[in-house]
């Protein structure tokens, strides 16, 4: 189990994260927040690339910095900006990553072949990385992060650069991987985690807003999301969350405490909740 206990991270006078406390057990956790909210800072602290200014992070009750190699040995990490050696092939790059993970040489090639097959890159295993598309590189990154069969998998915006088909494939893959491990997936794209995350962690004003199931988060807005025709009058207490195409033309999805005239109550989606939470922040600002 991973515990984040009252963690604060400051860069000089700037507080990137303040007083974050979390307990994470098996399953997929979606870290959802707008850009600049501190997602990557939290992910990097979990990957021991950054150190908390205050507070501590524990794995099964032991501080992760003190655990050192033992902690990193059970960690898989895909950074937001996946780096690679352009002149290496995926197989060569993964062999180097396997050496870094101290995976026995005899086992290395078998694991690499299995993971390349899992991410659908068997055919590109011996092509130079600089010749691969963004989506293929991202899949190499996922395979690298999975090399040591981690108990904690940290994926920082892993779907960036993937096309819709690859996104679905990726979601399915993460879902299947999460059965016996903790997967933390940061994104600002709601659809990436809506269907696979057991819990959603949301940050606001550099603080933890919630760590709830998607249903609980959506439940907060039940009876407050309405669909209106595009030409409807929007009152000051109503917030337009999004615009879309309905059966009879363009429609608006609106957050309102009171049912608007001509408004049809709709079930709140995670995207509605996300937009509503951060819209009220913008309003507050």
């Amino acid at each position: 189990m991973l515990s984040v206990e009252r963690v604060t991270k400051c860069y000089g006078n700037l507080t990137a994260l303040e007083d974050i406390s979390l307990d994470l057990a098996q399953g997929v956790y979606g870290l959802l927040a707008p850009n600049g909210a501190g997602k990557s800072t939290l992910m990097k602290m979990l990957a021991t690339l950054l150190f908390p200014t205050k507070g501590r992070i524990l794995w099964d009750g032991e501080e992760i910095v003190a655990m050192g190699e033992r902690y990193r040995g059970l960690l898989g990490y895909l950074p937001q900006d996946f780096g690679y050696y352009p002149n290496s092939t995926p197989r060569q790059f993964m062999r180097y990553a396997a050496a870094l993970q101290k995976i026995p040489r005899a086992e290395t090639d078998r694991r690499i072949s299995r993971l390349l097959e899992l991410v659908g890159l068997s055919d590109a295993a011996d092509r130079k990385l600089k010749r691969l598309s963004g989506g293929m590189l991202q899949r190499v990154g996922i395979a690298v992060a999975m090399l040591n069969d981690p108990r904690l998998l940290i994926l920082d915006e892993p779907t960036a650069g993937l096309d819709p088909g690859e996104r679905v494939r990726f979601r399915n893959m993460i879902h299947s991987l999460a059965e016996d491990r903790i997967v933390i997936l940061s994104t600002h794209i709601v659809s990436d985690i809506e269907t696979i995350a057991g819990r959603i962690i949301m940050l606001r004003d550099h603080r933890l807003l919630c760590c709830d199931t998607p249903a609980q988060i959506c439940g907060r807005f039940r009876g407050k999301i309405f669909q209106l025709p595009a030409d409807a009058q929007i009152m000051p207490h109503q917030h337009v969350l999004s615009e879309g195409q309905g059966e009879n033309g363009t429609v608006l999805r609106v957050l309102s405490e009171m049912p608007p005239e001509d408004g049809v109550a709709v079930a709140p989606s995670l995207e509605d909740a996300f937009l509503a939470i951060y819209a009220s922040k913008r309003e507050g600002a």
């Binding site: 990097k44 690339l49 990490y77 996946f82 780096g83 690679y84 990553a97 050496a99």
Partner: protein
């Protein structure tokens, strides 16, 4: 071992390094060919008039190092401390002169009439070039490997792996091994070419303190007084060995800059400034006659490199203690080694952006 091999493989695929190595070998070849005229009278026993050179004079017999002490003490007279160091050094040299006189080192033929020129070519020009090239290779390799993950944006993944930040110690080990291997390659190929053209067959066992060999410092000519009885072969081996140490010093210095600044280009800039600035500062101190500060500057690695042609000798104004070049290399290794350890400890707890 697996990771050291991986890191060394990165060095092998570093094209700029091999280009530099090729250019260095070409330069060394040109230096050898450019001094070909000395080869015409190398190891000859006759002077210009054709008479056999008299090699029976033992120049160390009755040699008084107090003359040298007075000469240099007068130069550094503004600093009583520096003058004291100089007098102490030459008083320690007196027994060495007597030993050399007793051993008859001066009676050895060495390269006869061509001794001074050939000695300066091999131990001055060529060794200085080999050391400069080896040190530049060492610094290039260190900066390249230390900055490799940053340049490829793989630092985060590497630091979050099981090996983690300790990989940088492996990188340092791999870079130092590669640097020393490159130095051996440079020295080996250059010396093979040199020795292929010059016949040292009967010379290796002769003393470098032969009466045909001498030193000139501040226009003052004196016998080749060494702190140990060196044969030509022994002197070459000692120079090459100390050279390997000096290459390691330059490598460690590059590692300190790389780990301190965490930016390859800035590290290269600072390294160049420190090395060239150090030489300039040494000259400035001597011009301003701030001798105590000048003597401290003679311990810096670039000063040790510059004085390669007087290594293991009394070295004149370039040294204020016996075996200064050896002491300086050991001291620099210790200081840079400690600095690298300090930088590494800092890196282990440093935030990575």
């Amino acid at each position: 071992m697996r990771l050291i091999a991986c890191e060394m493989k990165k060095v092998v695929y570093f094209p700029a390094l091999w280009t530099f190595l090729m250019l260095s070998l070409v330069l060394n070849g040109l230096l050898i060919l450019g001094n070909d005229d000395v080869r015409n009278y190398f190891d000859t026993e006759k002077d210009d008039s054709g008479a056999i050179i008299d090699a029976s004079e033992n120049v160390f017999e009755g040699y008084d190092t107090g003359v040298l002490a007075s000469f240099y003490a007068d130069i550094v007279r503004e600093s009583p401390t520096a003058a004291g160091w100089i007098r102490k050094k030459y008083s320690l040299l007196q027994p060495r002169a007597e030993q050399l006189a007793k051993s008859g080192a001066a009676l050895d033929h060495y390269a006869g009439k061509a001794t001074y020129e050939s000695h300066q070519l091999l131990f001055g020009t060529l060794m200085r070039a080999i050391l400069a090239e080896g040190s530049i290779c060492a610094m290039l390799v260190i900066l390249y490997l230390m900055g490799y993950e940053q340049l490829n944006r793989t630092e985060g993944q590497v630091c979050a792996s099981c090996k983690g930040r300790r990989l940088w110690m492996t990188k340092l080990a791999a870079a130092m091994l590669s640097a020393e291997a490159l130095y051996v390659l440079l020295a080996g190929m250059t010396l093979a070419f040199y020795l292929g053209r010059w016949d040292y067959g009967g010379i290796w066992g002769d003393s470098v303190s032969s009466r045909f060999n001498y030193l000139t410092d501040m226009l003052y000519k004196r016998p080749f007084l060494t702190w140990h009885n060196f044969t030509v072969g022994g002197y070459l081996a000692a120079s090459l060995s100390l050279g390997a140490g000096l290459v390691a010093v330059f490598g460690l210095l590059a590692a300190v800059c790389a780990m301190l600044l965490r930016n390859v280009y800035a590290a290269a800039l600072v390294l160049g400034t420190v090395l060239f600035g150090g030489i300039g500062l040494g000259s400035l101190f001597s011009q301003c006659r701030v001798w105590a500060a000048y003597f401290v500057m003679t311990l810096q690695p670039s000063a040790v490199w510059l004085d390669v042609n007087v290594w293991f000798t009394e070295s004149g104004i370039a040294a204020f203690i016996p075996w200064q070049e050896t002491v300086a290399v050991v001291l620099n290794l210790a200081v840079c080694g400690m600095a690298v350890c300090g930088m590494f400890r800092r890196f282990m707890r440093r935030d990575l952006s």
